[in-house]
């Protein structure tokens, strides 16, 4: 999903990933955090920081990505 939302070749520029976990999503937050940290600790996402936010409801969502794309600030 992250790759689909980034420019081609920009995966290495990923700096943060935020996932929303619904409290009825059947997802154990600490187990999920472990998996997400492991995923973001290795290429191609190495160096990105995981953020997990809990929300009411059944959904598991990719909330936002933070990317350092090298462009100057506007």
């Amino acid at each position: 999903m992250a790759e689909a939302h980034l420019q081609p070749g920009a995966v290495g520029q990923l700096r943060a990933v935020c996932v929303e976990v619904g409290d009825d999503a059947n997802v154990e937050v600490e187990n999920f955090r472990f998996c997400l940290e492991a995923l973001l600790d290795a290429p191609p996402f190495a160096g990105a920081v995981p953020t997990i936010v809990t929300r009411p409801g059944p959904d598991l969502r990719l909330a936002y990505l933070e990317v350092d794309d090298g462009r100057s600030d506007d």
Partner: protein, 225 residues
């Protein structure tokens, strides 16, 4: 330099749900009722399907997709009871079926020659609740040896299911299982849950189950359990 934020707000399950919608449309167009059997391991999904094929196999055109983490033992057992193709999906470690696996399995099934489709999911009362496979309804099985509090321990599965089958009721004299409490707990999670009480060994309650399946097949994809 600036770190930019890309808002996504996309459900992780969105792609699966998109494929599931395609599967559901395909089944509806073919007039097929599809039931997704879910339960913990050993609750009797395969045995229930064996008895169902024995009883209805000549009357209804029943197709089956089975899911197992390893082996295709369930599919092999069911293939002994029907001349029709039983499609086995081996998930290689995954604890549930997903919609793409079902879509792929259906490609080998003649949907024009099918009245009723069973998807026998991987034995697991947690993850399969989250995955829409394109079925008309989830059917949750639980046996009298599992304890009557299963609906409270795994509420999402019972909430997502439209039918519950209590299996192995022939063992009720030998186990401390309170049927009324089990039903009460399940209906606390899902007040609309329809119950069947069965023993595949003695045949108790099977006639009601078969009648339900006949109704599903007759009404096809418009069935409302």
């Amino acid at each position: 330099m600036a770190v930019r934020t890309i808002e996504v707000r996309e459900r992780v399950m969105a792609k699966n749900d998109e494929i599931a919608a395609t599967v559901r449309r395909q089944l509806h167009e073919a007039g097929i009722a599809a039931l997704n059997l879910v339960s913990s391991p050993g609750s009797g999904k395969t045995t229930l399907l064996e008895r169902t094929l024995d009883a209805l196999g000549d009357e209804l055109r029943i197709s089956i997709v089975t899911g197992d983490v390893q082996t295709q033992n369930d599919a092999d057992r069911l293939a002994q009871r029907t001349p029709r193709l039983v499609q086995a999906v081996v998930t290689n470690g995954a604890c549930h079926l997903d919609a793409r696996q079902v879509q792929t399995a259906l490609a080998a099934i003649d949907l024009g020659e099918t009245d009723l489709l069973f998807i026998e999911n991987v034995g697991n009362l947690v993850c399969p609740a989250n995955w829409d496979l394109g079925e008309d309804a989830k059917v949750v099985l639980f046996s009298v040896t599992e304890g009557e509090d299963k609906p409270l321990k795994y509420p999402r599965m019972f909430h997502e299911s439209r039918v519950a089958v209590l299996t192995k009721i022939d063992l009720l004299p030998y186990v401390p299982f309170d049927v009324d409490r089990a039903v009460m707990f399940a209906r606390r999670v899902n007040p609309d849950l329809r119950f069947f009480f069965t023993s595949a060994l003695t045949g108790a309650g099977m006639a009601e189950w078969f009648g339900f399946l006949r109704d599903q097949a007759r009404t096809g994809a418009h069935a409302t359990p």
